[in-house]
Each structure stands twice: as structure tokens, then as C-alpha cells.
Symmetry: C2
Subunit: 658 residues, 2 copies
């Protein structure tokens, strides 16, 4: 298949690059994370284990065979996997493409090319690509827009092609993507079908692929899909609702994210893309308002989104149960996509803050240390220890243990593509000239040991973050003139201290901390974020956690695991004395806790009584809390993030002195 394109690898090898934005993330090859650091280690494991692990499962379960069967023109009698299984192939190709943009690997390149060749062979002459519709033995194309996922699948194909064209230039995958995008524009353009896909993703795929290959038609088609949504055009399946698909209210009119969380977040990311491209301030403001509302009322302490197992969906405001928190890993990935686009559009620090929270407490929680098993749901309270799946596949999203694969296995490849593209979110060049600066600003927003090229500034970053809050930044290269280094001081870092070259240390408030000067090579800037563990109290409107407290340390949410309990105490017998501050311990903290024996109750009596319970109390003891991201790594356990307070005060009254 000959390519007519002239696209070449872009210096902006990033997932999102709005051409009219003043901010741009760092290219994947421009940030080198040390393999000893928190994120560098994960990136290594991702490249060394997770990519092959995912390909192995996709091949084993016949999802690639689906592609081959279509390529051979065979009649499909029994199709393996769900109607969205193609997307896993594309998400894996995207992860491979970013990984290949980060480092040379001939074997991975050959694997990538081989999968792409199989995909290309399955593409129809008119550009349609899909294995669940439109071929012998299958239902007709676009005969189930609500649940068919055809455009969703191709949206992921386009995102994979974005990764490829920006890291390696035009090739067969890019050509396949271009033909698919052209097909979609013909089929669903202004003169075509007036339809949308039940699962948003094509919007974000078309928008960025349009930018990557310089094709405004694709961006216009993304805009059409965004604008068509919310008018109830999708047929609602039995027992379902239009809200599930975000087809209840147009994006411009919505007040909060709702319905299926991943759908809502992918849609929002795509809508920011088209709003920025079109300079549509009203649409962008609507999306910013939805982000605010969602973060204020529908987001967990971990950054997790999606309160309900039913519909994998958002709940009502302040409906944030910890035990049934869904917090799908993919929703964490999608939340980062949405927040990152808002950061690029606005330069506001809060979006980067939420990205950090989500990266450390949702996305990093999913994979096991070996990169071969994953959490799908990320609850904040596990009442019963999970079981290790016997055949490797966890049929349901729940369970309390990481599983190698899932019946619906969207999360492993989503983690893989996020880790492989992580450098893009670590730093950015800001050319907006906002505030006191008029040149490019080098923005360092996620802290990891390594080396970063940020525009014409090159930095060496030394840190043990998040185990330690000290970040030592050495300038290796900088322009001769004055320039600005902008550092993110997270919202939780109330005691942060900055030391500029040759100057006294001084406190810096949460937000952006700018260091402006004519840097010379060897200049050292240190930022100490001071990671003393801290208590965090919930808003009293969150019923699920009234009268409890959580402990955080730096960007990490901590948790109590049954593994760390003495004797036969259970996780639900513990309360925390909040009059004693938590103390740093290992990579977690220790707290003063009280382990109580619940009252004996009358057999067969309801768990409600005419007087408040007065459990017997043992003496205070010190209990260890560990980072939430590594819970259940020492075997199945029960766990909680929010722990009842032992001092008899609920969060609404602690300061009343009663």
C-alpha cells in the first residue's frame, strides 16, 4: 500500500499538540526517566513485560485471529471477544509506537510491523476496518451504533497512528488510519449518516490524527460528532438510559460528567480538542465547568472517577462510596487525557495537580510490580479479601486482586499506552507569555528522577520522589538570555521551600513557582515539597465517609491493609486517633490507632439499636499505613483508605470542642 503522504516524525512526539495552543508537552524521547525512579521503573517494566503480555493474551484469545479471518474473507461463525476487541490491538499498537519513539528495539519494531500488516490486510477497499460488523457472517456495518463500538475501535486506530506518525513518520499504520478516517468522513460527514458512536473515542482520535497529518476535514468531522451528541439520537437499549452514552444533553449544556465514566471522559477530551481548534470559548468554558463540578463532587481522593459498578458510571453529587467505588483504571487514563488538554488550553495548575493524583493513585495502582497483572476497578475499601483468578481471566471487574486479563480487558493496554507516553505529561513548553514572562517558559510539572529537554532548556532532575520531597534540578543547558523555569507546587504542599541558585531558601505557596534568571550550566534549583504525612478529612456531604479520616503523604494516598494488623483484628475494628499526627514510616506512615471489639449482638437482630454502640476498646497501638498504589501486592487483603476517627468527633463537629 503506497503512501502519498509527506508526513515525517515530528519533534513534537506527543499525544496532543493543538496547533494554536501556547503550550506543548515534551516529546517522549526528550524526557529520560531514570530506571531507578518511581515512573522510570514502571516505564521499564512496561516495555520489558507488559507489551508482550498484552500481545500474548490478545493473540491467545483469538482477537488477532478475528482480523486475519476478515482479511481472508472467511465467514465468521463464532467470533472471539467482544465487539470492541479490535480496540485492544490498536491501544497496544499505540503503546508500542510510543515505546519505539522512546528507544530503539528491532524486535519490538518487527512485532509492531507484523501486527500492522495483519491489520492492514483486514481493511476494506473503502477504508472501513472492523471485525464485528460488515463481513460474511456478521451484522451489517453501523447496524448497532449504540453498542457496536465500530467508530470507537477506529478512534483507537487513529490514536495509534498519531503515535506512529509523530515518532516514526508515515508508514503503513498511518496510511491505514488515513483511509479509515476518510471512510468515516464520507460515511458520517455532513451529507452522510447523521449518527454518533455509543462509545466516544472517535472524536479524540479524529481531532488529533487530523492535526498530526494536517487534515482539517478530520477535525471538522470530530466537531460534527461532538455537536451531534446529546440530542437523544442513539437508540437506548433495554434497561439503559441516554445518560449512559452522554446522549441526554449536548456537551455545551451539561453541568457535570455523568453516565459511563470512560465514555464521558473520552468525550470531554475530544470536545476540548475541537473547542481549542475552533477557538470556541463557550464550549471550552462549558467543559471547564464540568471538570470543576466533577472534581468538586464526583471524584475520589485518589483522583478516581466512577462511583457505580452499575453502568461503570458516575454517581450523583457526593455519591462516593468507598467499598463500591468503581474508579476504573481506564477512567483514570481518560481523566488524565481530559485534564492534560485543559492544562494545555489554560495553563492552570489544578489540572496538573489532578493528573499527578490520578497517576500515583489510580494508574500506578493498576499494574502489579511485574507488569503482568492489573486492577480494573480501584475501590477505596475492600471488605473481603479477593481471590486469585485460577485461569488468569477475571470475568468481573471486581475482586480485590490483580488479574492478568479480564473478560472486558480495556485496562492493561490503556496502562501500557499511558506509561509509554508518560514523558509527554512530565514537562511542557509554555509560549503564552502570560504573567511576568514574555519568552518560552520551561514548565516542570511532574517530578521524577531523570533528564528533560524542555524547549531550549535541558535539566537534570535528581529526586527520590515520592519517597522523599526533595527535588534537585541542575540546569545543563539554557539560553543565554533570561528565561523562566516554572515548577509546580502541588496544592497539598503547604510547607514547600524553594532554593534558587546562590540564594536563600524561601517558602513557596501551592501553584506555579517561577524561577526567572539567566541560567548558566550547573545552576541548581531545589524544591523541597516536604512530605510529612497528613490527615485528610472528607466534605461532610459525602455520606459514605462521614466520621472518617484518610492519611496522605505527598501525592500518595495511604491505606490500611489487613496484612499490617496485629493478631486477629479485622480492618473494620480499627479507628484512628487524630489528635496524634501521623508519622512518616518507610514509604507510608504510622498512625495511633485503637482496635475495638464490636459489641456482641442478639442473634438474628438487625444491625440497628436504640442506643449508640459502645465497643470495648483496647489500648492505643501504632499501625502502619502503606501507599494505596501497592495494596494487595503482598497477597489478597482487606483494605481501607478512610478509617473511622477514634476521637468521637465527626468531621462536621471536630472544632466545636464537644
Amino acid at each position: 500500500m503506497a503512501s502519498s503522504s509527506t508526513a515525517t516524525p515530528s519533534s513534537a512526539a506527543v499525544p496532543v499538540a493543538p496547533e494554536n495552543s501556547a503550550r506543548r508537552g515534551t516529546a517522549v524521547a526528550d524526557v529520560r526517566l531514570s530506571p531507578n525512579g518511581f515512573w522510570g521503573r514502571r516505564q521499564e517494566v512496561n516495555g520489558a513485560a507488559t507489551l508482550a503480555h498484552c500481545l500474548d493474551w490478545i493473540e491467545r484469545l483469538g482477537w488477532l485471529e478475528n482480523i486475519d479471518r476478515v482479511a481472508r474473507g472467511e465467514v465468521t461463525v463464532e467470533r472471539a471477544g467482544w465487539q470492541f476487541s479490535d480496540s485492544e490491538i490498536y491501544k497496544l499498537l499505540e503503546a508500542m509506537a510510543w515505546e519505539l519513539g522512546r528507544r530503539d528495539d528491532a524486535e519490538l519494531e518487527a512485532t509492531f510491523a507484523s501486527v500492522v500488516a495483519r491489520v492492514a490486510a483486514a481493511q476494506d477497499d473503502d477504508g472501513y476496518l472492523g471485525t464485528a460488523f460488515g463481513h460474511p457472517g456478521l451484522p451489517p456495518r453501523y447496524s448497532d451504533l449504540a453498542m457496536g463500538h465500530e467508530l470507537y475501535n477506529m478512534g483507537h486506530l487513529l490514536q495509534a497512528a498519531v503515535a506512529r506518525v509523530r515518532t516514526a513518520g508515515d508508514d503503513l499504520l498511518v496510511e491505514v488510519a488515513r483511509r479509515a478516517a476518510d471512510h468515516i468522513c464520507r460515511e458520517f460527514g455532513g451529507d452522510g449518516r447523521d449518527g454518533i458512536c455509543g462509545h466516544p473515542e472517535i472524536e479524540v482520535g479524529l481531532a488529533e490524527f487530523g492535526r498530526a497529518v494536517g487534515e482539517p476535514r478530520y477535525l471538522a468531522q470530530a466537531r460534527l460528532f461532538v455537536d451531534r451528541r446529546g440530542h437523544g439520537s442513539l437508540p437506548v437499549p433495554p434497561l439503559q438510559s441516554a445518560e449512559y452514552f452522554q446522549d441526554d444533553t449536548p456537551v455545551i449544556d451539561a453541568e457535570a460528567l455523568r453516565g459511563h465514566a470512560v465514555r464521558a471522559l473520552y468525550l470531554s477530551a475530544g470536545a476540548v480538542d475541537v473547542a481549542v481548534h475552533d477557538g470556541d470559548v463557550a464550549l471550552l468554558d462549558a467543559l471547564r465547568g464540568q471538570w470543576d463540578h466533577t472534581v468538586e463532587r464526583r471524584t475520589y481522593l485518589t483522583g478516581g472517577m466512577g462511583s457505580r459498578h452499575q453502568d461503570e458510571g458516575f454517581g450523583d453529587d457526593f455519591e462516593l462510596p468507598t467499598d463500591r467505588a468503581y474508579c476504573e483504571t481506564c477512567a483514570g487514563v481518560a481523566s488524565v487525557m481530559f485534564s492534560w488538554r485543559l492544562y494545555l488550553a489554560t495553563g492552570e495548575v489544578r489540572y496538573a495537580d489532578l493528573i499527578e493524583r490520578t497517576l500515583f493513585n489510580v494508574i500506578a495502582t493498576s499494574p502489579a510490580a511485574d507488569g503482568r497483572s492489573f486492577f480494573y476497578a480501584n475501590p477505596l475499601h475492600q471488605r473481603e479479601a479477593g481471590a486469585v483468578p485460577t485461569d488468569g481471566v477475571n470475568a468481573r471487574a471486581e475482586g480485590g486482586t490483580r488479574a492478568p486479563w479480564f473478560e472486558v480487558s480495556c485496562c492493561p493496554t490503556n496502562v501500557a499506552r499511558t506509561f509509554a507516553s508518560l514523558p509527554a505529561y512530565v514537562a511542557a513548553v509554555d509560549s503564552s507569555g502570560d504573567g511576568s514572562t514574555d519568552g518560552d517558559v520551561a514548565v516542570l510539572m511532574q517530578y521524577a528522577d531523570g533528564r528533560a529537554v524542555i524547549g531550549d532548556v535541558v535539566l537534570d532532575v535528581q529526586t527520590r520522589y515520592p519517597d522523599d520531597g526533595l527535588i534537585r534540578i541542575t540546569v545543563l543547558e539554557a539560553p543565554d538570555a533570561e528565561s523562566t523555569l516554572r515548577l509546580r507546587v502541588p496544592a497539598w504542599a503547604s510547607d514547600a521551600v524553594l532554593t534558587e541558585p546562590g540564594a536563600e531558601s524561601h517558602p513557596v505557596a501551592p501553584g506555579w513557582a517561577d524561577v526567572r534568571r539567566a541560567f548558566v550550566s550547573g545552576d541548581v534549583v531545589t524544591l523541597d515539597l516536604r512530605l510529612a504525612p497528613r490527615f485528610t478529612f472528607p466534605d461532610p456531604r459525602i455520606d459514605a465517609v462521614r466520621g472518617t479520616v484518610a492519611v496522605e503523604r505527598g501525592p500518595l494516598v495511604l491505606c490500611l491493609e489487613s496484612t499490617d494488623l496485629p493478631g486477629d483484628a479485622t480492618i473494620d475494628d480499627v479507628s484512628v486517633d487524630t489528635t496524634s499526627a501521623p508519622i512518616a514510616s518507610g514509604d507510608g506512615a504510622s498512625v495511633t490507632a485503637i482496635v475495638a471489639d464490636p459489641d456482641e449482638r442478639t442473634p438474628g437482630a438487625l444491625p440497628f439499636t436504640s442506643a449508640p454502640a459502645t465497643p470495648l476498646r483496647a489500648g492505643a497501638t501504632e499501625l502502619a499505613l502503606v501507599p494505596y498504589h501497592r495494596w494487595a501486592e503482598r497477597g489478597p487483603s482487606t483494605m481501607r483508605v478512610f478509617i473511622p476517627t477514634a476521637d468521637g468527633t465527626d468531621s462536621t463537629a471536630a472544632t466545636d470542642g464537644r
Copy 2:
């Protein structure tokens, strides 16, 4: 269709009559509830409105046409309704049969006969009856045991036939049921298919129908189905689990009810039936243990069961969220079925206590006052007011408003059959000779204005219960010798007072209160249950309601509705001062409450802070609470049963004095 049976209407016109049980409920015609009383009024509305309402919807939606099409031998091209739609016809027939056992109604009798004739015409020659399988255009019989509901449907047919044979004697419906039961015994007997139905119900249907027509084969088949369950024989559909079907653990080995709540409870009821029939003490003990565990840890204050919308299922122990409480109305009906059978088997008062709680707070909550719309789910906290369904059908079980019909519309007919058979649960004859008595004991266990024939005792009961706690019982007829009248003093009635004929009043403790004497006509016994409203505190292990309190009054759980709030206050701004006792007011209570303005927070900030919130507090005000069973009757509202306490104490520490 000629009948070969000699069965005639039984004096025991009750849903459950174990032949070797020492206890038997009162026949439906033997308890006449006053139409002015709480239950009598509902029974009137049921007969006058709900039965016709259900038939109208069933006809309109084509669920009876499904039957006709099968009778005509037509090819089904597009079938209306779900695979379990037949069961709604049978549950309605059961309700009609009980209603006809209670009062003559020629028009209802004609309607009943007409529906039965249509059902009979659809029965296959070998007794199979069903409209979703086994006929032209449909999948083969029993090709989807997990989700096909074929035996489930026929189980409801058998329960309808029980009602008919015991109230009217043998007729066409009974004959149809006998032929269906014979078919099932042939098909699934010891030499037949080694299968079970994904939705239990056939067990309870076969067991009771076997008793009603004196056919032990049916009881043996019920036993087979109970014993076969729990060995993982059902194929588990994608994203589902064996637990959903109770096919994970045999009934005899299970510790708690789990999975789909209605399935679990119907199964339990059928298992008690076979345990009692077979004198299987071990099985009965296992079921009693499961009841205890479930009531202690998986049951709401309303008696509602089922914590999860997902799977319509039970949750883990102490997983009792109020906002997402499912508490399906049908699970309430099924819980009454289970508890009633355990009462008959043991004579223990706690089963009757839970029945009362469930009747008043789940089943009575479902229908609107006009008997033409229903709640399906019964949450204890509604955060957003529901919408009135525009076309009458609520596609989803949620919503916060009663709906005329549902996409899955199991609840209306289940309410109808329960109300029509309600007299059977009001009183019982106990011939066990337990305790100090050796003759029959007349047990009055639910209090309603009316007249009751309980064995050879006839009582006139005057009461405004549950609006008032005074129950005045006049003996109209009694045997010449000494006999015992046994009255239930509910577990919550800690101040109850009993007055025997010609004696001083004396306090009686919760449990059974026996009055033994040679009654003469005109003797009056009064029981005053004293319905002062009371605070009820949750077990500290229930995270969802930590730091809250509920208010109950007699058997009624009360709730706060937004309808009763001053100004623009919202339901979630209210806390209750538990140092002031609630005061009776109308049919509810008033409490001293504090309405707070939530703190202003930073836009876009997570709802978690480094210090407990200190909301501004307005002065104390009196707020009215209304019975939960009538919430949303005054229009869509927000609502909560458990309200945060204002006194700064959570339930674990209130007595610590801190």
C-alpha cells in the same frame, strides 16, 4: 380438559401449609380487614384497582398475545417482553385467585376464567408451557437454563394454582398446573435432565402445589432442584458469576444469602419447604443460620434486602449504602415468604417481627395510594428528586418516583398477590403444644382493624395501628375450656402494656405474650404497644450511615423529605440534635434539627480538606418526619432516612463523654 382430581377448596386457604407443621396461617376468608384500616384499605385498592391495572398493562404490551400466538401455533417473529413475561400473567392469576377467595366477584371470576382459558390453550400436549422457547421461531426448550426462566415461569403458574385449588377447588388452572408439574418431573426427574433453573421459584411452586394436590412426586422434584443447586452446573454468562444464581455453594453449606436477592430468597423459601417436608433438621438449621447472618449484616432498617443495583444483589456484610440501596420490592415479598416459612417451622417471634417491618416499610412503600403506580427499588436516601415517567414505563428500576409499569415489571403483580393473600400472615393456629399450653394456641401476630377466625377462636380487633399503638381485642367466640391467645409484642415495643379481662394492666416484654384462660364471649384483651417515636442508631460497622440516626415510630421507619424543609434548605444540610427526643406528630414525628450552610470551597478543588469542615449553623428548628412508606406521595422529592447527628458524636463514641 377433564380433571381427574378430587381436590376441593381447602379450609386452609393459605399460600403455605406444610402438612407436618404444628402451625398454620389463617385462611384468606377468615381474616376480614376493615377497609378503614392500614392494610384493609390497601387490600381494597388492590382488588378495586391494581388487579385491573396489571391486566391492562400485560395485555397492552402483548404479553398475553405471546400466549395466544403459541396457542395458534404461529411463528413468533418478534416476541414482546422479556423471557419471564409469562410469570406476570401467573402472578396476576394468583392475586386474582386469592382475591376471589376473599370475596365474591362475578366479573373478576369471568376475567380470571378467560385468562386461564388462554393460558390453557397454549399448553403443549406434554404439559410444557412457555412462550419464549420451544415453539416456531423460538429457541429450543431448556436451551438456556441460566437465563431462560422457563421453570421460573412455571413455578409461578404452580403458585397460582395453589391459590386456586385452596380457594375454589380443582379447575382448569389446577389441571394445567398439574400437567406442567408432571412434565417437569418427567423432564428433570432423577432419570431426566440434571438441570436447574437460573432463577429459583420452581422449588417453592412444586413444593406447595404438591402439598395442595397431595402429590409427593412434586415435593421430591422440588428437593432435587434444591440439592442440585450450588455445584456450578449453570453456565455462567459473560460478566456474571455463579453466586448471582446461588450456584456457587450448596444451600446446606452456605453461610449467608448472596447474589441476586430475589433469587436467593425464593430459593430459601423453597428450601425451607422441602426441609420441613423431609424433616431435614440440618437443612433447616442451615437456612435459619443464613437468615440470622443476613438479618444481622445484610438487611436495611426497612427490612429491605439487596444492597446493589448491580446484579440486583446482596452486598458484603455491612455493605448497606442508603443512596444506592436496591431493596427491590420483590425482594421484600420474597423475604416475607422466607420468614413466614421459618415462623411456621419454628414458632419464633423474630420471623414475624421482620415480616411486620418488611410489610410496612418495603411492601407498603411500593404502591401509590391509588394502587396504579409502584416503586421497584426502595432506597433510603434520594439525592435528586425523581422524574415522573412520561409514557408510564420506567425503563430502569431507579428514579425516586412511582411508575405505572417497568421494563422488567415484576413488582406490581408481586405486590398484588401479597396484598390479596395478606390475611394468611395476620394470624396462625399453633398446635405445637409448646411452653405451658397443650391445646391449640390462637396467635395474633400482625395488628389490623378487623375480624379474625383463628381456629375455634373468633376475635374482633379494634385498632388504629400503626397510627396508634392501642389494640383492643374482643373475644367473640372461644372454646369452653381454657385456651391461649398469643400476642406478638414487637422487638421495638419496650414499653408495651397488656390488660387481660378483669385484671390490672401489666408490662409485657417483647416476644410472645400469652393470655390463657377460659374465654367467654365479650372478653376484652388490650395491648398497648406505645408508639412514641424513637431514635435508632446504626451498628458502627455500617460505613454508609456512620454518624447518623434514624427515627422510627412503632413499626414505621420515618424519613425526612425535602417537601417538609423550610426555605431553600436541602435535604443534605440537615442534622438532628439527638439530645432532644423526637415527638409524635401526625402519623410521623418531629425532631430538633439544625440546618447548616456547607462551607464555601475552592472551585475545582476535591471535596477533601486538611481540617474537618466547620459549617455555619443556623439555630435549631423543628422538622417533620413522615412515614417512609409514603415518601414521594406529595410529588418528587429528595429524602433521607438516616440523618447526620448534630451533636458531634458518632455512634461509636457517644457514650464516651468526649
